[in-house]
Symmetry: C2
Subunit: 574 residues, 2 copies
């Protein structure tokens, strides 16, 4: 049982049959065709040699097939993690140098170790600290930064920076150096890809293809752009016209790579590795859960950490970059009919064949084509309407989202995400620090109690019933003290105060101290403190505390019981 | 009205009469006698010249009388803030130098600016981030560190450090150099003070004093120790025996001091100033609230920030150290009958007289006596039983408390408090990230629904009712997704799922996204999602969201209504 949990392959491999193998193989062929340009492009985005993207799409897929719990997730390099990799390495080394590559490999290894450790310690809940508005804002802003960063390849100019301000500034400065052949190739590829996303499917459909086949074929349009532009570049010797091509790619499978053991480098990259890990994990789990639900399957987030962690370890140790479960590739895998993680392993074989036999052709590929595929891919990440939706739903969530977007665009991806997390935690605590509470009175003739401000209710001048609509904990304990003491100062006749607690799910030690303080202060002021409707688990804890020992009043099971006992009035028969 | 809020003196001064003046004057005399040794001692603890403690007990008291809302709080140097001051300044300068003094003055000014700004912006809720276990653990650990740091004065040896390990180590190394006359003076004073705390009151009582008079006189015992030991030191010329005395104290009132404008120093001290401000504010507010409640008065925490902030500004600008509302001095002020903040202003006059006329005598005071008064004062801060109480009540709160204590003792006061705050926020989020939820069924023959695991209830195999006992927000949104999908995977017959939400006080944007994802995944799995008992404010927000537009099922006001509609079964007449 336990072995099956840590090696999910044992859950499906023993009953793996010919039908599943056929489905998986078909899906693998389609995903391979889609992955080749994507892997090259994301390596370029991360500032790495093109083959690093291919290496990161071989061993990690095999490892995930063994340790991952999603049947259809496809792991490999993804856009946001590639941008984060580039941003993390920029201060350390020049892109293209050996130190830069060593840094990327170390990021994959560290991210692998962190994710695996978090999985073993069952720390998957840490990903919850990334609230949805923060993740959504972060991905939108990252998409914008990524698209902007690729414009230099489309124009054939130099530009750098890892935020919108720097990129925009350096683009404007060198726009005069635009290389026309590059712009034609890149612009053409971009146009074709944008057109194909919208119109290729209907066209194929009209040509007689089944809807599903048309859908899948549309998603492999980038390979067509890659093939055509490489052919054009080769035929016209475009490199002599100043069109930058993908550098010569070494042929052959990746080999074992020893990560750097420089402790200074480890500590410099630690925060980046953690952020890449957590962001990648969140993206991966949400894709995995969405796909699993469609077939009433499920994934285990803590085991997913181990699956992604070992995949990243495998990536780094075979000379690759950080990987995670990507959205578009997983959806293609799913739609193409993949049934088990074996599809991923077959895809790895496909990519391995590409590194063995396609590398001479890849050398002729214009970087502008890859930039176009990246831009088209990240446009789908940019979700500006989410800003409006979030604004309408909640101003506080919108605040966290906006801070994340602004800081990611204007400063850096890391600043954006850290500020977003800090702000969303702070705003949540602030929101619960002023909980809703209401003085309630009896709805005449019933056993029900309602807010005096909203309903016509019966009151008793000497007894006040205060309902608290939030768990009581350190952030709101003092607020409760203030609310209660305000009430007592305002009502000099008061002799009894009943705290009505049906929505109190937790009373922590701070709130307990506050309640003890309230009890003592009320006693000093000649008022007895009572409770009603305390939940079972909360009551279990309160037993044996000084609060109950020294309580001036009583604990009532129901508010009506308190009403009867303290006001001496019975309910009129309902 | 608004003027009265920002200048609370206007609330009481217009009706100030002779009776109140008499009460305030009596209290002021008693507090002055108590404050003289205390002020000197806390200056010593902070590594500052003795007169700085006196200066901090003049102008701040007058300013607090104008801006403070507590009638009986007494502000001035306190033990914990003095320790924090010493710890903050240690890396910057040698105690006794002009730079060190300038740092202390700047800390008071910065703390004053921060508190005033927080008050104007109404940011008093920030103090809530210091949970009770963290404050309690921090004060206990600070008390231990302070007591340990004073032992060197008792033994007349050199020792340094701002945590227990460093202090303990350097004490052990130089214990051989103990100065016997110093130990006799200091040990004698310590013994006398400890004895007087326990036995002086009964003795005075037996001598015929009224209980209240005996109580107050007992609290002024330190002044007796100070007088006697200073007299002995003068008579026996103990300075020639190696007994360290308080250095010569300049006579006269404090004068205006310009704080340092070195921006580097400002940024180095910013975190320390913030921590001193927040810790001081929390201590002050809790003392103030306790005393105010005894007379059915109240304090305004946001105005208290302004009161304490301006008091600190006054302290810094008149050459003093950080101040806050102290526990022991405020209780003495209250017990001695102070009725208005005018008592504080009279006390300021008393201390001012002391700086004018008592300074020649103070020069003869042995430092060991002051160390003894500090040790006796901080012993009351050390609350070890709180560890056991917190452990029994809540393991998570205990964890935050223990981390605070261990880090404060072993590393530094700042590390202790920062770790405690981070841990208590983290543990709270963790605790709410796995909320209690229960599948509920109908109590036969009623309209009530209870946990199936605890009660005999009716169920329906195709309809599951899931009650969630926590607000839904980013930290637990994914947990809910997992819980629901688990349920659906386990029950293949399921067609309807009802989320029962009476304890859901908030649904943030992350939880909304999760609910939308749950709704879609359930639809893919052929299950309809319904809600029941959504609270009014929560429902108001949900209106107009995509969740309600795309909801597979319905919204029911009561769970029983959902039961009737979905199971087709009516309740048996009750």
């Amino acid at each position: 049982m336990n072995l099956k949990r840590y090696l999910p392959i044992l859950q499906w491999a023993p009953s793996y049959g010919r039908d599943q193998a056929t489905s998986d193989l078909v899906a693998a062929v389609i995903v391979t065709v889609m992955l080749i340009p994507q892997s090259l492009a994301y390596a370029l985005l991360a500032g790495l040699p093109a083959q690093v993207g291919l290496y990161a799409s071989i061993l990690p897929l095999v490892i995930y097939a063994v340790f991952g719990t999603s049947r259809t997730l496809s792991v490999g390099p993804v856009a946001v993690a590639s941008l984060m990799t580039a941003a993390a390495l920029a201060p350390l080394a020049e892109a293209g140098t050996a130190e830069y590559l060593a840094g990327a490999i170390l990021l994959a290894v560290m991210s692998g170790l962190m994710l695996t450790l978090m999985g073993v310690l069952r720390l998957g809940f840490l990903a919850n600290f990334l609230s949805h508005p923060v993740i959504s804002g972060f991905i939108t802003a990252s998409g914008i930064v990524i698209a902007a960063s690729q414009l230099k390849h489309l124009f054939g100019i130099q530009a750098n920076g890892h935020n919108l301000l720097d990129i925009g500034h350096s683009l404007l400065v060198s726009l005069g150096n635009t290389n026309l052949p590059t712009l034609l190739i890149g612009g053409g590829a971009l146009m074709f890809l944008l057109w194909s996303r919208r119109y290729l499917k209907p066209v194929l459909h009209r040509l007689g293809l089944a809807p599903r086949a048309a859908d899948i074929l549309t998603k492999t349009a980038p390979i067509l752009a890659v093939l055509v532009t490489a052919l054009v570049a080769w035929a016209l010797r475009l490199d002599e016209q100043g069109v930058r091509l993908v550098d010569e790619v070494p042929s052959g499978l990746p080999s074992f790579t020893m990560p750097s053991l420089d402790l200074g480098l480890w500590s410099q990259l630690a925060v980046s590795a953690l952020l890449i890990s957590v962001v990648g994990f969140v993206e991966s789990v949400s894709v995995g859960q969405t796909l699993a639900a469609k077939r009433r399957q499920r994934i285990d987030p803590d085991q997913e950490l181990i699956g992604l962690g070992t995949a990243n370890l495998g990536s780094g140790l075979s000379g690759g970059m950080p990987v995670t479960g990507g959205f578009s590739r997983s959806v293609v895998n799913f739609d193409a009919g993949a049934e088990t993680p074996a599809a991923g392993a077959y895809t790895a074989v496909g990519i391995a064949l590409a590194t063995l036999f396609l590398t001479p052709a890849i050398a002729w590929l214009p970087q502008a084509t890859l930039a176009a595929t990246i831009i088209v891919a990240v446009i789908t990440l940019i979700d500006l309407p989410a800003l409006g939706r979030t604004f309408r739903y909640s101003r506080t969530d919108f605040g966290a989202m906006l801070a994340t977007i602004v800081l990611t665009l204007a400063h850096s991806v890391e600043a954006g995400i850290i500020a977003g997390v800090a702000l969303s935690i702070g705003l949540f605590l602030y929101r619960t620090s002023r909980p809703h509470s209401a003085v309630v009175g009896r709805v005449p003739g019933t056993e029900h109690f309602r807010n005096v401000l909203r309903h016509e209710v019966e009151l008793c001048p000497k007894v006040t019933f205060l309902r608290v609509d939030e768990s009581l904990y350190f952030a709101n304990a003092r607020f409760l003290e203030e609310t209660v003491m305000d009430l007592v100062t305002r009502e000099p006749e008061l002799t009894d105060l009943v705290l009505v607690c049906p929505a109190v799910n937790l009373i922590d030690a701070s709130a307990l101290e506050s309640l003890e303080a309230i009890n003592e202060r009320l006693r000093d002021a000649g008022v007895r403190l009572h409770f009603s409707e305390i939940k079972g688990p909360v009551m279990d804890r309160l037993k044996g505390t000084e609060l109950l020992e020294h309580l001036g009043g009583r604990i009532f099971l129901s508010t009506y019981e308190a009403w009867q006992a303290l006001t001496g009035r019975a309910a009129v028969a309902a």
